[in-house]
Amino acid sequence: MTLVKDKRNLILTGVAIGIISVALVLLGNPGNMGFCIACFLRDIAGAVKLQTAGVVQYVRPEIIGLILGSFIISLLKGEFKPRGGSAPITRFFIAFMVMIGALVFLGCPFRMVLRLAAGDLNALVALAGFASGIAIGCYFLSKGFSLGRARTQTKSEGVVLPASTILLFVLFIAVPSIFAFSTSGPGSMHAPIIASLAAGLIVGIMAQRTRMCMVGGIRDVILVKDWTLLGGFIAIFASALVMNIATGKFNLGFAGQPVAHSQHVWNFLGMLVVGLGSALLGGCPLRQLVLAGEGNTDSAVAVLGLIAGAAFAHNFSLASSAYSATSVGGPSIYGKVAVIGSIAILLAIASINTFIKKREA
């Protein structure tokens, strides 16, 4: 593929994703939450009662669609190649911390872009933190950071996660009574199931084809001055911005934004954890879902780490509360400690896999 074609495809994909994202909000998803990989995995963790925060429990068909869209298109294109074994446990815990950081900010990188496109300036503070985290990650990558080589795995190993999402969806449709569903709060707000699933499938297919990645975009600019992936990021922002203005959903400012808070330090540091952790994982939470659909078992482990992180974040009050009429919102003292601790642990993991490994080699 040529440079120009790559860029054009990414921009067209980004425009489509921006439109679909705002459409999901118009169809019932929470504000500025057409897609949020962190929030949706957290809601799924709630639906299966890994966490019991009553306002964030729902089986989000978008997540199921994203994994299956990538799974189906990679099978059709001959790109379904199960591989794994590159430090799976390390990846699990990095993803765990990425989720804590995301839930302190209240969004993954994808939702950060959607929040920005709706005028939520808290997301701008978060973007600065996110880019800083990626820059730190790039420092270690350029010094030789590696989680080691992945090896080819059996087809059946690669199918496990996509198959389990199909099982989850079948149970969700056939016996919804076994799950917990929010009756109020963000978990109770959702687009019709078929719309959510279709949106997930379409975006999953497009993200697999274009290798779209929120972390990769900024990382490639820093490391190799390549703007291709960032083009997709900017296109999502631009098309969601136009959609939000057209539908009256654009509201510029810090205060009163949906499912958000204005604790600037913690928005910055929460997304710094996400940027650094995702740079070490080699991709943002969206990219991990897509890679898991392609049979990458390391990414499948990362997805499980994200879900576990979400469960812990709510069970131990690490996740931030949103701004409301009665509260300014933001992280608890536990959330703050968890973010600082995560930064320290991620720096330790990065250092060990950069400098000490080199001496062993």
Binding site: M1, T2, L3, D6, E79, K81, R83, S86, L141, S142, S146, G148, R149, A150, R151, R211, G216, R219, D220, L223, V224, K225, D226, T228, G282, D298
Partner: protein, 67 residues
């Protein structure tokens, strides 16, 4: 010619290793076993004005970059 083995490595490592190798040698052969690093290294090379010579065999790609 410098040869580097990037099989099993995920992005951005293959691109960084290629970049480093190109600083040490004017001709580099990189072996990868996945389409994404193959595309990324090609894109990186073209951005530098180098047209990579790509040979595929058995699910692996060898890209030869000559400055």
């Amino acid at each position: 010619m410098k040869k580097i083995d990037c099989r099993g490595l995920s992005c951005p490592e293959p691109v960084i290793m290629t970049k480093r190798a190109l600083k040490e040698d004017s001709e580099v052969a990189v072996t990868v076993d996945s389409r994404v690093p193959m595309e990324n290294i090609s894109r990186f090379a073209r951005a530098l004005g180098i047209e990579p010579v790509i040979v595929e065999s058995d699910g692996e790609w060898t890209l030869t970059l000559k400055k």
